[in-house]
C-alpha cells in the first residue's frame, strides 16, 4: 500500500485531514449547467498532469494546510 497525500480530497481521512467543504460546494455549483460542468472537469479532472498538479490547482500547500486534522478533534 502506498500513501497518496490528500488522495481522498475533497473528502476526508479521519485524523489526517478534513473534508474540503469549499471544493464540494464549488463542484455542486459547477454541475448546474453542462458548460460549467465541462469547465470544472477540464480544470480538475482532465487538466491536471498528475495528482501533484491537481493539488497545486486547488491552491497548493496553503489550501491543504487548512485541511489538516486537529490531533485532538480528528478533523
Amino acid at each position: 500500500m502506498v500513501e497518496l497525500p490528500f488522495g481522498a480530497h475533497p473528502t476526508s481521512v479521519y485524523r489526517s485531514y478534513d473534508y474540503d467543504a469549499r471544493a464540494i460546494e464549488e463542484y455542486v455549483e459547477a454541475t448546474r449547467t453542462p458548460e460549467s460542468t465541462r469547465a470544472f472537469l477540464d480544470e480538475f479532472v482532465y487538466g491536471p498532469k498528475d495528482h501533484w498538479d491537481y493539488l497545486a490547482r486547488l491552491g497548493g500547500s496553503e489550501r491543504l494546510a487548512g485541511l489538516r486534522a486537529d490531533p485532538v478533534l480528528g478533523y
Binding site: 476526508s12 479521519y14 478534513d18 473534508y19 467543504a21 486534522a69 478533534l73 480528528g74 478533523y75
Partner: protein
Amino acid sequence: MGLDYTPSELMAVAGARELQDGEVVAVGLGLPVVASFLAKQTHAPNMTILFELGVIDPQPIHQGVGLADPRVWYRAKVLSSFVDILGTVLHRGLVDVGFLGGLETDPYGNLNTTLVGDPRGEFRHMVGSGGANDIASCARRTIIILRHEARKLRKAISFVTSPGYISGGDSRARSGLRGGPSRVITDKAIFGFEPESKKMKLISIHPGITLEEVLGNMGFAPLVPPKVPATEPPEASQLQLIRETIDPKRMYMG
C-alpha cells in the same frame, strides 16, 4: 403568552421525550440526531446513542453535515463499523429504540426512504436505506419522524425500505421480526399504534393545530379516539439547548 417555537423544534422535543434514560438508541439522519442529543443532555444522560456507521455514544462539540462527518464522532466511546453496529449490536437484539426519519409512511408504519414514484415507471431515488431496514427490523421499538403532508402519510407507499407492522395484525411477528413502530411524530400530531390491528392511532395534536388540519393532510384515516389531548409544548430550557448547543447553525431544524 406561550413560548415561540418552530414545528421542527416541537418535533425534536417530542422525539426526545420518547427516549428513556439507560436506553440504547440507533439514531438515523436528520431530526432524530437533534432529538437524541437533546434527550441525552436533559433527562437521559445514561442513554447510549448509536450511529449505524460505527459510532457509539459520541459527544460532539461541532455540528456535522451528516453522520459520516467526523464532527459527530467526537469523543465516541467506540468507533467501529457498519458491520459491528448492524451485525453484532442490532441483530443480537441489543438496541431498544430505532429512531428514523423518512419520505413516506403508511397506516402500519411501514417506512420508505428509498425512492418516490413508481419503481416500474417514473421514480426518483433518494438517500435510503442505509441501515434503516436493519434498524426498523431489529430494534425493540421504532420512532418515526416526518413532515405532516398527504404525500408523506399515504395509504400505500412507493417502496417499503423499513418494515413497520407490514399489513397489520400479527403480520410483523409472523414475518419473524421483533418490535415495531411505537410512535410517528409529525409537525402536526403524534400517533401511536392500536395494539390489535396495529393501525396508526392519533394520540396527541400539537398546540394550535386542529383535528381537521391533522386529518385533512393525510392520505388515509387514522384511528381517532373520542378525546385527543394536546401535545405538551417545549420547555424554554429545551429550546435553548437546541438553539445554542445542538443545532446552532440550524442545519437540521430548517
